[in-house]
């Protein structure tokens, strides 16, 4: 009798935990559903092609223009520019942490990277606005320090921790035997890192880079406060821009409830979601497909 009762409890608990774990699936699906419910109606007014490739975003003028190409361009360019800074810095820091640093230095540098990751985005945006923007304005003698360049640098430091910690995990799980083999053949430590360790850890590093870029393209507060806010096609890196998240965050409060503008912002949210979703799927694909050398399957 007791055993029977215990087994019922067992089954119940297992189902309970499964149901709760399935919540993540439900939530993700619900996010998609609600984005679509509130975003699709705009496509009665404007075709998907004109929405995505329209060059003008003037949602409040009459008649309004709902073309988000400038916003998409801004998001992509900002992500690209910040990757130029974040990828080398993040990966090199990861190499330093896992291959070169002494235990003491590790204990200092690793928390630094973790703290960088923990800084609230609004604080980084605020810093970019009140400290870095005036500095840029004076140094480069430009009209405004709130521009694409500033946003890219601020975003780079938000991507570095992601890139660094995932790359570091990948590098440190490269089997010791591979390294020892290379060293015993007479290669220097540096040659071992570039010719053996990095190629072996490449899939992990790529995953880190993609997830870092996903974080940048979705980051809201920094681009909202620092990118300048002009919904125009950028022609120089010192132009103010308005990436997708900034547009959504800045305009949602003013958009009339369930008006065209409101629907258009949700549709922009769909595009943004598709971008980050794609980044995440690619990262997942790479980390599954190219299992790290020497990793136990």
């Amino acid at each position: 009798m007791i055993i029977f009762k215990r087994q019922t409890t067992e089954k119940t608990m297992q189902w309970l935990f499964f149901t709760i774990a399935a919540a993540s699936i439900v939530i993700l699906i619900m996010i998609m559903i609600f984005l679509f419910i509130e975003g699709i109606p705009i496509f009665k007014k404007i075709s998907i092609i004109n929405f995505i490739f329209g060059k003008y975003w003037y949602p409040t003028s009459s008649p309004p223009d709902f073309g988000i190409l400038p916003l998409i361009t801004a998001s992509i360019v900002v992500t690209f520019l910040s990757s130029l800074i974040a990828v080398p810095l993040g990966v090199m820091t990861a190499i330093y942490l896992s291959e070169i640093a002494s235990t003491t230095m590790r204990e200092i540098v690793k928390p630094v990277v973790e703290m960088l990751a923990a800084l609230p985005s609004v604080v980084i945006g605020f810093f970019g606005m009140v400290v870095f923007a005036p500095f840029l304005q004076e140094t480069f003698d430009i009209a405004t320090g709130l521009n694409m360049f500033n946003a890219s640098i601020m975003l780079a430091f938000m991507a570095i921790p992601t890139i660094c910690s995932i790359s570091e995990d990948a590098i440190s799980s490269v089997p010791k035997t591979l390294k020892e083999a290379s060293l015993s053949l007479g290669a220097t430590h540096f040659e071992t890192i570039t010719r053996v360790v990095l190629p072996a850890a490449l899939s992990g590093i790529t995953t880190g880079v993609i997830l870092g870029m996903a974080r940048v393209i979705g980051e809201t507060m920094v681009v909202l406060m620092v990118a300048g806010g002009a919904a125009l096609m950028p022609s120089s890196i010192f132009d103010p821009v308005r990436p997708m998240p900034a547009s959504i965050a800045a305009e949602m409060a003013e958009a009339p409830f369930r008006g065209d503008h409101y629907f258009a912002l949700f549709a922009t949210g769909i595009v943004l979601f598709i971008f980050t979703f794609a980044f995440n799927m690619i990262a997942d694909y790479i980390s599954n497909k190219y299992k790290q050398s020497g990793e136990r399957v």
């Binding site: 993540s24 939530i27 960088l116």
Partner: protein
């Protein structure tokens, strides 16, 4: 002879590149230092007892930030209150019950994707679902639920790590004594993993406290003359307060010290919690070894 030169050159190349690697780590530290230096340096001037304990006055240009501090505390505690049980249970399923297969892969994929959803999209979801569809309005509860969804992957990740650190021999010993799986989890695995799980909770709390975009449309308001009295109150929060004062206020320059002060309070809160978690975790790891 040539060989020696060749070898020397290789050594020099190594020195140069290791120097570059060191430098790049130093750049991170420098960036963190500069940000903290400016916020702390200028924020300290604004901090006073009245700043921390009084309501804003003179249409937000003077006075304190008490409602924002309280708002942020309540908001992040409520969201963790919701996300913590769900996150821990999910992690228990993933690490203790699930067998590798399609179901597990799909759940993991969803959690990874959930972790990658942009914060402003969580805001849109919160607006469409909690605020409008469930008709909860712009309120503490809508904001907490939205933040709970956002912190869920953080808690799941940390809890899983804690569960993985429990040696398999513990589970085997318990099972060998005739305990069922649930008894083993409840009496052996969870108590051992508890400190690690709590660390995850603290990290989730810090994350929720620092987020702005998800609460912009769901919970936060520019000014609320009274402190929150129910879960349906609109609330003020530190991150949103910084954003509003720095971008939308009528006297942006005049309120600069208030902005720095608020930013300082926020980073002390968030980095403080993170530091506690980091130190605690490294202690745990050392003990585990």
């Amino acid at each position: 002879m040539q060989n020696i030169y060749f070898h020397k050159r290789r050594k020099i190349v190594e020195k140069i590149f290791f120097g570059i690697f060191r430098l790049s780590s130093a750049i991170n530290a420098l960036a963190l230092f500069i940000i903290i230096y400016f916020i702390v340096g200028k924020g300290m001037q604004a901090i006073s007892w009245t700043f921390l304990t009084e309501m804003p006055t003179d249409s937000m240009t003077k006075g304190g930030i008490l409602p924002c501090i309280i708002g942020t505390f309540i908001l992040s505690l409520c969201s963790i209150g919701i996300a913590f049980p769900i996150g821990v249970s999910s992690a228990i399923y993933l690490n203790e019950y699930a067998k590798s297969g399609t179901v597990l892969r799909i759940i993991r994929l969803c959690i990874n994707n959930l972790a990658g959803v942009p914060s402003v999209v969580f805001g849109l979801f919160g607006l469409a679902f909690f605020v409008i569809w469930l008709n909860l309005g712009v309120s503490l509860i809508s904001g907490s639920l939205t933040l709970a969804v956002l912190t869920l992957p953080v808690i799941i990740g940390a809890t899983e790590e804690a569960l993985k650190a429990v040696p398999h021999t513990y589970r085997e010993a318990s099972l060998a004594l005739g305990a069922t799986k649930w008894q083993t989890i409840y009496k052996v695995v969870l108590p051992t993993a508890l400190p690690g799980i709590l660390t995850g909770g603290i990290l989730g709390l810090a994350r929720a406290a620092g987020e702005t975009a998800p609460i912009m449309f769901t919970a936060a308001v520019f000014y609320n003359p009274s402190l929150p009295s129910s879960i349906f109150s609109k609330i003020m929060a530190l991150p949103y307060h910084i954003y509003v004062l720095a971008t939308a206020g009528t006297e942006i320059e005049k309120t600069r010290p208030l902005q720095y002060g608020t930013a300082l309070v926020l980073i002390v809160l968030v980095l403080g919690m993170n530091l506690i978690a980091i130190i605690y975790r490294s202690k745990l790891r050392r003990r585990m070894r």
